[in-house]
Symmetry: C2
Subunit: 203 residues, 2 copies
């Protein structure tokens, strides 16, 4: 890294801090910026500088929204089904669900899953806010769409218990766990197959 000007090394360091971006990719990215105009650099730079001041959280579901907006694109949409709520971990997961183009109800973004190993307990994510939300709003169905990891599964169980105890949701469901589309049985791991078998449905 002593072999490049400081101005580039700075940028490489920033780029390589992104998850999944190694030193090599970061170097390639930084050097490719040299082929752009100073005006391009200035626009790019401004978009990063203005990030915090241009983005806010939806006051209802905690998805991201514009700073001056109170509600996100889902909550503001009058055509969404207001009687079902889908609990997701993050904005990225919400976008993935939206892309699947099936769910038309409202969301609640938890902001993480419970993970004692990483020091993330119920206090670190929006469990209390979810309870507040469910005390004020009644839904016909509350759907958990958390990742099928140890942490995701135990967060689903933990919150379900809580909601049941407080009688805050009558109908709690979770999205199906099974073999993914296009995957062959022989390459599917045994836990997934187990789940898929247990979740079998009529043809």
């Amino acid at each position: 890294m002593d072999n490049l000007p400081k101005g580039i090394v700075n940028i490489i360091e920033f780029f390589s801090k992104f998850q999944g971006i190694g030193k090599k990719t970061a170097t390639r990215m930084a050097l490719s910026l040299l082929n752009k105009t100073p005006e391009y650099h200035s626009n790019f730079s401004k978009s990063i500088a203005n990030l915090s001041s241009s983005v806010s959280e939806c006051t209802q579901c905690f998805h991201l929204c514009d700073k001056n907006a109170e509600l996100c694109f889902v909550c503001i949409n009058e055509f969404r089904q207001k009687n079902i709520l889908c609990i997701v971990e993050s904005a990225l997961d919400l976008l993935a669900m939206e892309k699947s183009n099936t769910y038309k109800g409202l969301y609640f973004v938890l902001g993480g899953v419970i993970s004692p190993m990483d020091g993330i307990g119920p206090e670190e994510i929006r469990v209390k806010k979810l309870i507040n939300h469910l005390e004020k709003n009644i839904y016909d169905e509350v759907i958990f769409a958390l990742s099928s990891t140890m942490e995701g599964e135990s967060t689903t169980v933990y919150i379900t218990d809580l909601l049941t105890k407080k009688s805050l949701a009558k109908n709690i469901t979770r999205i199906a766990r099974g073999i993914s589309l296009g995957s062959s049985i022989q390459y599917t791991d045994e836990n997934t197959l187990q789940r898929a078998y247990m979740g079998r449905s009529k043809v």
Copy 2:
């Protein structure tokens, strides 16, 4: 993309313009920035804004160097062998050669390879500047280290012809083409094996 605030969409667009960064990675990168402080954003932003004003080209070999420096880290190093010149395509290739820790001479960065399909002729890269350089400086050996692609190979041949005609270099070589370390013969493509066979040397 209508599902995210404009401030983030802007950044996603910039990130996804980098080669090898798809929309999904760009989105993940942009959202991960939200977990950083405004101060971090400001520093990141400044490093990009200042890029053009902080980076320059070495007046001798055209590698990148600090704005106020005239020579890059190679040309300024008095311990380098001044009698051999290695021709590389880009700053990235120069860094790769340096990492291999074998070559201790000087470089000349061509700034591309001749590629008629992409409209890149000898005028678009530093062929004239290389000739100027070789008219002023005499080397015992000029080594081509261009990529082993059609374009790299033909650029090597084109410039070698030119230098031979003008009697600008007495000893022109190219780095060896053969099987890469750790690769097995059965998976090596026939062209590489052909080259490796032709380039065989005594054990």
